[in-house]
Amino acid sequence: EAGVAQSPRYKIIEKRQSVAFWCNPISGHATLYWYQQILGQGPKLLIQFQNNGVVDDSQLPKDRFSAERLKGVDSTLKIQPAKLEDSAVYLCASSSQGNTYEQYFGPGTRLTVT
């Protein structure tokens, strides 16, 4: 079974630029999560999708961050404009409908904002 795929693996941008991350969950997994992990901290949930609907986006900074999950499969997370404090690893995870609590993580995208 293929795992969660993410791209790019690394991205360096200047502040005020925009960036987008892509995630392809495990086939058949209905629930998809985006996390932000700042160095030295645990992952923090940004947004949770159930199929193509948003379940929880309470910790997503909506003035600069947006996310969508077209057709309930792939998802993109965008930051516009980026700030220095957005430097982090962005992790995507997915889980199946019947096993929501066990999440499988992708390799992440390391973002550096200069």
């Binding site: 923090k44 379940v55 929880d56 992790l91 999440q103």
Partner: protein
């Protein structure tokens, strides 16, 4: 506000030692507690604990949950250099808009020397 505290923050041991990692939590609408191992980037699932007092084991790793005192421990016996990683605990939420949501602790960095 949900709170998850792991201790110690870091631990350095030699191969063959036994280690105990701690996780205390305060979350609303608690469902279960998950442990993850993070090497390089993607966290990988170790255990999910739902019932108090029932130990789960996988090889040299074991974990137990105390729902009355709101903590969990992860034990690793006969440690190996391959156990070097960040260990994350994450209570999950049940029901409502937070269904399946994980709140991660800051992690314990374990370093095992040969």
């Amino acid at each position: 506000e949900d709170k998850v505290v792991q201790s110690p923050l870091s631990l350095v041991v030699h191969e063959g030692d036994t280690v105990t990692l701690n996780c205390s939590y305060e979350v609303t609408n608690f469902r279960s507690l998950l442990w993850y191992k993070q090497e390089k980037k993607a966290p990988t699932f170790l255990f999910m604990l739902t019932s108090s007092g029932i130990e789960k084991k996988s090889g040299r790793l074991s974990s137990i949950l105390d729902k009355k005192e709101l903590f969990s421990i992860l034990n690793i016996t006969a440690t190996q250099t391959g156990d070097s990683a960040i260990y994350l605990c994450a209570p999950s939420h049940a029901g409502g808009t937070s269904y399946g949501k994980l709140t991660f602790g800051q992690g314990t960095i374990l370093t095992v020397h040969p």
